[in-house]
């Protein structure tokens, strides 16, 4: 590991939340280091094209306007360090005397592992698509909706000739339009939930929701556009299986009218998002099971302080709520931190924070409605016994169930780690990010508990697998 660099603030994640936080901490005069493993600023919603690409009208839709404005402002700031292409492997305790935190960071281009010291840390690691296991889901060509979308946004690549979308999240409408705009073919948009379930989620909240009318309007307009372009949009159309030899050839869906087999070379799932939680759990901050898709959201106070002094969270890491809320929470974390650090006048800070919180509160009805409307829990496809639940270690539902049954003998409080020790689910390269929620759900179901009552995998260093040679770049002092 290489010599350390010291900052007032280190921010993990250069998405809307991390950028908004950086804008505030830099504005308060705090030395700030923003770190992201992606090569450019922007996060998932604004995955920028590579430098040297010129893309006409890139992300010019209304939904992206506020985030783009923030990106433009932050890119103009010069008084901060942006470590693009740097993966954060760990957040640990800092110097014994000075306190703070030490981050282990891997520059992906040059290799090695560096240490970054910071008095305070904001984790704004965002979220990732909920991976859902069903027969055939490991075939090349079955991917997350986010994967398709980010291939379109950044390198401007259409991953397939015919792309089918399935799941429960309305982001599918946005994505289908983006595929069409790129000249691609959408082989159907399949909402697993019936239309009336979506309307039921919308109805009672309509007055509050209407204040956030723009996304609703965009959604309705999107649906109309898809219909006009001849893209079939189905409700109550649930994925059953994916088929193919060495790669995907078709998916089968089940709905009231019967089964439909849809030929496609890409099928993208969109069941909602799980918060990135490995770093906060590794360093020991308190988390709780998130509603809807699940995963672990970090507990924080109204100033975005986690349960660990000096550690703040922002954006989807604190709970999935969309990019507008992510930006506001990022700004809030930055302001709170600046006050805590004595870099911002308390009174002024409190005033700004109150304004930010008021804006977050105004978005709350919409966020809640979206969560309910997109809630995948009642619509998750069922893996067959031979379906792999853990992709990395090839652990089937059958093997997982056997491990769960073995754990249940004489013990009713077991968690995901005990199951992992028995069957290896979660022991692979992704370090459990892909299967953890599914393992927890299966344990909950088998033992009659709520998912929130089942302990997850223990998060450990490193948050990303790292070659040993790179860890050892500097001669290690033997002890």
């Amino acid at each position: 590991m290489n010599a350390s660099m010291s900052y007032d603030v280190a921010i993990v994640g250069g998405g809307p939340a991390g950028m908004a936080a950086a804008e505030r901490t830099i504005g308060a005069g705090l030395s700030t280091c923003l770190i992201d493993e992606q090569p450019r600023l922007g996060g998932q919603i604004l995955r920028q094209p590579p430098p040297g690409f010129a893309v006409t009208g890139w992300q010019s839709g209304r939904l992206y306007r506020a985030a783009r404005a923030l990106l433009a402002r932050v890119e103009r700031l010069d008084a901060f360090d942006f470590r693009a292409g740097h993966a954060v492997l760990g957040v640990g305790a800092g110097h014994a005397e000075e306190g703070g935190f030490a981050l282990s960071v891997q520059p992906l281009a040059t290799g090695g592992v560096e240490r970054i010291d910071a008095r305070r840390v904001i984790v704004a690691g965002g979220c990732y698509d909920m991976p859902v296991a069903f027969p055939g889901w490991t075939l090349p060509g079955v991917m997350s909706a986010g994967a398709v979308q980010t291939l379109l946004k950044s390198p401007q690549v259409l991953p397939g000739g015919r792309i089918a979308l399935f799941g429960t999240h309305p982001l599918m409408i946005v994505l289908a339009e983006q595929i069409l705009a790129a000249g691609g073919e959408v082989a159907g948009v399949h909402f697993a939930q019936p239309r009336r379930a979506m309307l039921a989620a919308l109805g009672p909240r309509l007055p509050g929701v209407l204040r956030a009318w723009r996304p609703l309007l965009e959604g309705a307009r999107g649906l109309a556009n898809l219909r006009q372009a001849g893209v079939p949009v189905h409700f109550g159309s649930a994925i059953v299986r994916a088929e193919g030899g060495d790669a995907l050839e078709a998916i089968t869906l089940l709905r009231a009218g019967g089964r439909e087999r849809v030929a496609c070379d890409v099928a993208a799932m969109c069941y909602g998002f799980l918060p990135q939680s490995d770093l906060v759990r590794q360093v020991g901050a308190a988390v709780r099971w998130a509603p809807g898709p699940g995963g672990w959201e970090t507990l924080c106070d109204e100033g975005m302080r986690s349960s660990l002094p000096g550690l703040y969270v922002a954006g989807e890491t604190a709970g999935v709520a969309g990019s507008d809320v992510a930006m506001l929470r990022g700004a809030l974390a930055g302001v709170t931190l600046a006050c805590d650090a004595g870099a911002l006048d308390e009174v002024e800070g409190a005033r700004v924070a109150a304004a930010l919180r008021a804006r977050i509160a105004r978005l709350a009805p919409f966020t809640a409605m979206l969560r309910e409307l997109a809630d995948p829990q009642a619509y998750l496809p069922e893996p067959e016994l031979e379906t792999l639940v853990c992709r990395c270690e090839d652990v089937s539902a059958r093997a997982l169930d056997a491990a769960i049954a073995a754990c249940a003998e004489g013990d009713d409080g077991f968690g995901a780690s005990a199951v992992k020790l028995r069957c290896r689910a979660g022991m692979g390269l992704c370090q459990g990010r892909s299967c953890e929620h599914a393992v927890i759900r299966r344990i909950a179901r088998a033992s009659g508990r709520e998912a929130a009552q089942v302990a997850g995998f223990t998060a450990r260093f490193p948050a990303r697998a790292v070659p040993i040679a790179e860890l050892l770049e500097r001669d290690a002092p033997a002890r």
Partner: protein, 102 residues
């Protein structure tokens, strides 16, 4: 073979460079991720699981690790990397299987 392709309309890209993938040459755009270059070329099978079944990329955002490959720049050593996080540049070799032990 998939119907994957680069979007050409409204997009100007830098001149292509050659990427060596498992010993074969592949034209790719500097800056796009190695995964994007593979996807655009129609390559979907990135590894085999323990049963010998084909696997491909899943998340394109560094989370699932399904796209992990070996990468070598010029004469440097092979390193393990998630292909979705490695920008294409000149002189880049990619292996989807472990390099011969040296």
């Amino acid at each position: 073979m998939s119907g994957a392709r680069r979007i050409e309309e409204g997009v100007r890209r830098p001149d292509r460079v050659t990427l060596r993938l498992d010993g074969a040459d592949l034209a790719a755009c500097p800056g796009e991720s190695v995964l994007a270059a593979l996807v655009a070329s129609g390559a979907r099978r990135l590894r085999d699981d323990r049963e010998g079944t084909a696997r491909g990329a899943f998340c394109n955002m560094g989370t699932c690790s399904e796209c992990t490959v070996w990468v070598r720049k010029g004469a440097a050593a092979w390193v393990r990397r998630r292909a979705c996080l490695v920008p294409v540049e000149a002189d880049l070799c990619v292996l989807t299987h472990a390099p011969e032990a040296t």
